[in-house]
């Protein structure tokens, strides 16, 4: 893998400051990328250190703390004895986003309500309730040409399956790519097609022949 999230994104992610949409994408990347797992645990240790060096900001009696502990322990004893486990616990994402991560990580793409927008191109938008970003899944058949487009803001792409190429490079499964408004590009899906997660903070703007039509679809 060649394209990884930048360290600043990882820092925001590791400290829990990243917007939910991006956190889902980074979480999925993390699942597939040992290198970033390593970086993230390094950054998390800064978090551990922060916790360790924090100064107490409230007053309390030691006896209260012991009472609190007894209360905590009785709560714990009242819990069911099942062994607890969570497959995605290591990711810095909300519990409520885990079903989505699980679906995408395990590639249950057939469950998705795809909407055809052009020959060989489908899309599905994902409601994340993230005010900062729009999230959609894009699916391209083998060798589909993705219309020329630019981005008004940043576009973050995570390749979920297959690959695609543009004039600069070829992007494969698991890679996380950032493009800004200066990149006008016309990607082409690989021979097995491609499914991507696209996160934008402003809609894509198509510039080619089909541009007006696709922009109209984009507004739907």
């Amino acid at each position: 893998m060649k394209y990884h999230p930048d360290i600043e994104i990882l820092l925001k992610y590791s400290s829990g400051q990243l917007e939910p949409s991006l956190a889902v994408a980074i979480g999925l990347h993390q699942q597939n990328c040992e290198e970033c797992q390593q970086r993230i645990s390094e950054l998390e240790s800064v978090g551990g250190e922060t916790l360790e060096t924090i100064h107490k900001v409230f007053k309390t009696q030691d006896s209260n703390v012991v009472d609190d502990f007894d209360k905590l322990f009785s709560d714990i004893e009242a819990l069911p004895q099942d062994s607890y486990s969570g497959e995605y616990d290591n990711l810095a994402i909300a519990q409520s986003d885990i079903p989505l991560v699980d679906q995408l990580y395990n590639r249950r793409f057939e469950e998705i309500a795809w909407q055809r927008v052009a020959p060989k191109i489908w899309r599905a938008s994902i409601a994340m309730n993230d005010p900062g970003y729009e999230v959609e899944l894009l699916k391209f058949s083998a060798n589909a040409k993705i219309p020329k487009h630019t981005h008004k803001g940043n576009e973050f792409t995570l390749v979920l399956q297959g690959d695609f190429s543009d004039h600069q490079d070829r992007y494969v499964e698991g890679e996380f790519i950032v493009q800004d408004q200066s990149n006008e590009h016309q990607p082409i899906a690989g021979k097995n097609g491609c499914i991507c997660m696209a996160i934008t903070n402003a809609p894509l703007k198509f510039t080619g022949t089909f541009g007006p039509i696709l922009n109209w679809f984009n507004r739907q």
Partner: protein
Amino acid sequence: MIHVNNWKQTTETTMQANRQNQSNLVYWPVLNPKRRNVTMVNNQDSEAAALNWRQHMCAVSENRDRAAFQALYLHFCPKIKSFYLNQGMTAMAEELTHEVFIKVWQKAASYNPEKANVSTWIFTIVRNLRIDYLRRKRLTEVSDEDTVEPGEEDTLDLDIELSRNKKKIHQVLNQLNEEQRHVLQKVYFEDKSHQLAAAELEMTPGVVKSRIRSALKVLRSQMGGE
């Protein structure tokens, strides 16, 4: 290959430190008597403490040791509560801290002493509960959807050789100087504004920004950027 690079890095850093003592540009911890109170913990002490907590945590996971759990609680509870309070979560701090320790107990078996210090592992629980809380708050503001509890059954075995990696962690973070670390802690991990971080660290906001930039630069080069 890596060794050669590290050696080169160290030599360069030392040289820079010597040069920059005069111009007061800090590349390596420079002892500033005024700021002694924020000086990092003695490395040996913190290593010993980390080992101590690791043993406690293993006692909790292997023997469900209540005394060890209580010791962890007495040590970490005030810190966690302060962490939440510092982030303005006044009403929730108590409840979230309580939840953190329930998770610590429940998830104890998934703690891997080879992989992380106890404080780091606990931090990830603290962080995720904060993420959940903020997300839940958003969701109830936007819609009335209930959050779905995932029903995961299998325990993920994280038994990978990682002691080698741990060494690297220390190396990478040690490349940051004290100021850079403090700035990253305040701005990212404690979620403080540049202004607030600046006031607490007795710097100007401009210096805070430049420390962030230089810290990111160091991390980028150390961790192998893009």
